[in-house]
């Protein structure tokens, strides 16, 4: 035990006098670079999510407007799509609700409405879907 103690203090003393070795410096610089890049990426992630949030506000408002515009749809269902300024693609789809027999309402009087808003976000595409049930026009 005393022997190893002696050896280690000796080595430490020598190392302290000789400064850092190249390997130690390389490791230290590499650790610093990695931590900097992690910090950088974290900041980038925050920026991206704020950008996604703003687009999301737009998409939700657009979808709510589309639901308001399609409160009454044809009894046979409908499908419509378009694109807004700012690159939002929207799609509205209505399908008759199939009611169980004996049905209290005619088929087509209740409609499943699905509004989908899509927008590009970098390499992928994001989307927001609103589902609702609306009235269908009575067949004449």
């Amino acid at each position: 035990m005393p022997v190893t103690d002696c050896q280690s203090t000796d080595r430490m003393a020598r190392r302290a006098a000789g400064g850092f070795s190249l390997l130690e410096m390389v490791v230290a610089v590499a650790i610093m670079a990695i931590s900097l890049s992690v910090l950088y990426r974290a900041a980038g992630g925050a920026t991206r999510s704020v950008g996604v949030d703003e687009k999301m506000v737009y998409a939700v408002e657009l979808a709510r407007s589309l639901v308001a515009l399609n409160k009454l749809v044809p009894a046979s269902g409908m499908r419509d799509e378009g694109e807004t300024e700012g690159g939002f693609q929207w799609e509205v789809q209505a399908e008759p609700v199939v009611l169980q027999d004996p049905a209290p309402l005619e088929v087509g009087q209740l409609q499943y409405l699905s509004v989908t808003v899509r927008w590009p976000d970098g390499f992928k595409e994001r989307q927001f879907v609103l589902n609702s049930i609306v009235a269908g026009e009575r067949a004449e």
Partner: protein, 204 residues
Amino acid sequence: MNRSRGFTLIEVMLAATLLALLMVAVLAAMRTFGNTRATLDQVTARADKTRAVSEFLRSSIGSAMPVIRHGEVGGDVETGNSHGTYFVGDSAELVWVAPFVAGADLGGAFIMHLARVGDTLELRWHPYQRDTEQTDWTGSKPRVLLDSVEEFEIGYLPRNGDEWISQWSGDQYNPLLVRINIRAEGHYWPELVMHLGGARLNLR
């Protein structure tokens, strides 16, 4: 012996150059962080404003009440002195009555007045009283909903299958749909469409 010799000029210059490069990289990173922060604040504020203003307009116009505006029965609709619902507007301004809570002690039905004044979007409100004929707007301070408005347009859809019109003269019923198109601070807003349902005034 060798160790006490110190560094050669080349070694010092190399070290200084490396240090300089490192500092440049760190400074650039710092500046990017600073810019990012400013941009983040701006985008967050814009998104917040869009959300708050859209939500307010959607809920308060969407809950417009078909209440009586006093005036002569069969009077002049254009000047607003006919007897009809309290829902009058054109492409740049709108007057309606809706339930509204402003602060802790105010509530009930309010007459709302939304208008574009210069490049701002202003809202005034006044408690709705059944028997007043002319609303006195002098006591109400306008609140600015939006600055730097570049485009503001209101449209009205009377009935399903009709065309959108740009004037609503306060007849016996509310429009089915109201839409608002806004462009502010160089950004297009999503079209706001409110469903009012075309509620009819009950004159009893």
